[in-house]
């Protein structure tokens, strides 16, 4: 049978390159002077400056990972870690400079804000250029702001939580992040407040040979709930760009947080991101992740189920095409009784792309009556692509229900014949099966969600059913 020819994602929208204009771009490399300069530029309080310098020391001490994709092409001497766009933080789109606003327009952000979001943050290179939230949420005490403002306005809250969920020495790129972080969002949802409509932060990296190191810190207080969406993209350059963000989520007793990500970095990006959630008693965090872009991605969101009855679900898909090595997965630690985790991971490899599902499920001694169900499915669309499944299952007590299942294979010829017998062409039949494969993830995203995943899948599988 003829090989399927699914076109590369139409990247035109994502590929809009603006001129590399900035207010300030730090010189390339990573030294104490550079970190001090960033700290000065950002007018850090003393504790933050100290944290940055300590992190730099840690960075220099830590080794590169001895596993996973080869990231030796990353040369920090060639990366500018801080690029300040030529604008201040704005709270109306009118004040955002024309070319930057145009980019976000084309990505559909202001439109989505009007239709289906309760608040939006937009970061361009190293700084947030736009932040706004519906007034009624403000009245309820919800805080949604850029990270820099949070450091100044809510010093105690930030200091208490910043790099506490993800310790600086977690791995080398966390240390790097802590040393040069800039931008990102801070969210606080007070006790009992239910934010029904999602908040969204969008991260755009325009500047070549640079890095984005945004920090997202979300605290959902007792009994509150939130859906947070993060999107990211960048135009493609010939040289490597680096993304080493950090996401710290605190989900307090009885609270609920859904964290959705549509990652569509350009294919020269090294995406070495770190995300963790600490989940308290009877609280729940759900991760929904679509990973389409990047040259290399190493991303393993982690739920730490500290409270009794804490829950987490991970629903993720990776789609690797030519030249991409997407090493993604999930980690969960069960630290208390009656906790539960459900993992549904899928991957698609085509045109020589490589997907790896890498994971950890650890059920500790005290996590009695806990439950974990993991399922991974990998689809190979041709014989030049690769797909690996590397799950670690660490069960340290008996009173648990744990099961893990993984499948790997191609689209079944029988299924293709069945659909063709109903009048679908071979390409249509394959596209329909691939879409059906991705459906459990795409259905988890809000229908209104303007920009990303559904669009990407639809573009990818153009001609399939509407």
């Amino acid at each position: 049978m003829k090989k399927i020819n699914i076109e590369e994602i139409n990247r035109n929208i994502y590929n809009i390159k603006n001129k590399d204009e900035y207010d300030f771009k730090i010189k390339k490399g990573l030294t104490k002077e550079i970190v001090e300069e960033i700290s000065k530029q950002k007018d850090d309080p003393e504790w933050m400056k100290e944290l940055r310098l300590k992190a730099l020391e840690t960075y220099n001490k830590l080794e590169l990972p001895t596993w996973g994709p080869d990231i030796s092409e990353l040369d920090m001497d060639e990366i500018a870690t801080y690029v300040r766009p030529k604008t201040k933080l704005n709270n109306t789109w009118e004040d955002v400079p024309e070319d930057i606003k145009n980019t976000f327009d084309k990505l559909g952000i202001p439109e989505a804000e009007k239709r289906s979001l309760a608040g939006v943050g937009a970061q361009y290179d190293s700084e947030v250029v736009y932040h706004s939230m519906k007034e009624e949420l403000m009245k309820q005490g919800v805080i949604y702001t850029d990270m820099e403002s949070a450091v100044k306005k809510y010093p105690e809250l930030v200091k208490q939580h910043f790099m506490k969920c993800v310790p600086i020495n977690d791995h080398k790129f966390v240390a790097l992040h802590a040393a040069v972080w800039s931008g990102g969002s801070f969210v606080y949802v007070p006790k009992g407040v239910k934010v029904d409509i999602p908040l969204q932060s969008y991260f755009r990296l325009n500047s070549p040979e640079s890095g984005q190191f945004e920090h997202t810190l979300i605290i959902v207080d007792e009994g509150a709930s939130l859906h947070f969406i993060e999107g990211c993209s960048a135009p493609k350059y010939n040289k490597v760009n680096l993304h080493a963000g950090c996401v710290e989520l605190y989900v307090k007793e009885n609270a609920y947080l859904r964290y959705s990500t549509i990652e569509n970095w350009s294919k020269n990006m090294l995406n070495l991101n770190t995300k963790k959630a600490i989940v308290e008693k009877n609280a729940q965090v759900d991760w929904v992740t679509g990973s389409f872009g990047s040259k290399i991605s190493m991303l393993y969101p982690m739920s730490i189920l500290n409270g009794e009855g804490a829950k987490t679900e991970y629903t993720g898909i990776s789609f690797a095409g030519e030249g991409q090595n997407l090493d993604n997965g999930f980690k969960v630690i069960h630290n208390n009784k009656n906790t539960s985790s459900v993992v549904n991971a899928k991957s698609i490899s085509k045109n020589g792309g490589k997907c790896t599902y890498r994971s950890l499920v650890r059920i500790n001694e005290n996590a009695k009556n806990s439950k974990s169900i993991v399922s991974c499915d990998s689809l190979m669309l041709d014989d030049i692509s690769m797909s690996d499944t590397i799950p670690v299952n660490d069960i340290r007590t008996d009173d648990v229900e744990f099961s893990h299942e993984a499948k790997i294979g191609k689209i079944s010829d029988k299924a293709i014949f069945y659909l063709m017998s109903r009048g679908l062409s071979e390409e249509d039949a394959k596209a329909m099966i691939v879409r059906g494969f991705a459906y459990p993830i795409s259905k988890e995203l809000p229908v209104e969600y303007a920009v990303e995943m559904n669009n990407l899948i639809n573009l990818e599988l153009e001609g399939a059913i509407g």
Binding site: D413, S421, R422, G423, A429
Partner: protein, 246 residues
């Protein structure tokens, strides 16, 4: 306009190295219901698959003509769009695509016309009710988690919606209880008219109790060894296939 809908001429078909069909000849006219009967392994399912040109079977010789047009080497989807439908013995499960969206899309492909959403839903609902199907199943993934009976009814539903010229029913009656067989027969009667035809493939005679047919062919070891009317099925019911073995 010609009465003849399908003609199979001297068809030889292999699966891998094995020769399965050894010279099949068959003519089906518009307005007729034909039955191919035969024991397990005689080549019944191969015949159905060969008409739709399933790539796992290889035609060594012979031709298949639909409505005057040679479809021997056409692609499966082209054959489907020209008006041949097959109800599968083991319908495939396709996760993530609902019955409704699938059929809407397939109908669009087959008719080449846009499908009106609300009319289509009403039509679907009507047929599902006629077939005693749970109408909620229209929003479930295609065949996923359906029972054997639900899958077979879903095939008949697809036949009614796609309204082909020739419907091939491959063992649609097997594994069904009496009530389900009646429902399937009812579906065939609803479908049947003077312009189309039905080819039923089966190894037992149950469905012929509730359905009137025009021709019965006995397929043994890759060849049609006997052709007759409904009474031939009765004889087989009484005496089995042994009399035809040689």
């Amino acid at each position: 306009m010609s009465k003849e809908l399908l003609e199979i001429k001297d068809l030889y078909v292999n699966a891998g190295e094995t020769e399965i069909l050894k010279g099949i000849n068959l003519k089906i006219n518009k307005g007729e219901i034909h039955v191919i009967m035969g024991p397990n392994g005689s080549g019944k399912t191969t015949t159905a698959n060969a008409i739709l040109n399933n790539p796992i079977y290889h035609k060594e010789n012979g031709s298949i003509i639909l409505d005057g047009e040679d479809i021997t080497n056409s692609k499966t989807d082209e054959i489907a769009r020209k008006g041949v439908f097959m109800s599968f013995q083991l319908p495939e499960e396709i996760p993530g695509i609902s019955v409704r969206n699938f059929l809407k899309y397939a109908k669009n492909k087959i008719t080449g016309k846009p499908v009106k959403i609300f009319e289509f839903k009403d039509e679907l609902k009507k047929y599902m009710e006629e077939l005693n199907m749970n109408t909620k199943n229209m929003d479930r993934s295609l065949n996923v988690g359906f029972s054997g009976g639900e899958k077979k009814k879903n095939e008949i539903l697809q036949m009614l919606i796609l309204n082909p010229k020739l419907a091939i029913l491959d063992e649609t009656d097997s594994g069904l209880d009496v009530d389900a067989i009646k429902t399937v027969s009812k579906g065939i009667e609803m479908f049947k008219n003077k312009k189309n035809a039905v080819l039923i493939i089966t190894h037992n005679t149950k469905i012929l109790h509730s359905l009137k047919v025009d021709y019965v062919h006995v397929l043994i070891n890759g060849k049609i060894v006997k052709t007759g009317g409904q009474d031939l099925a009765k004889k087989i019911e009484e005496n089995g296939y042994a009399q035809y073995k040689y």
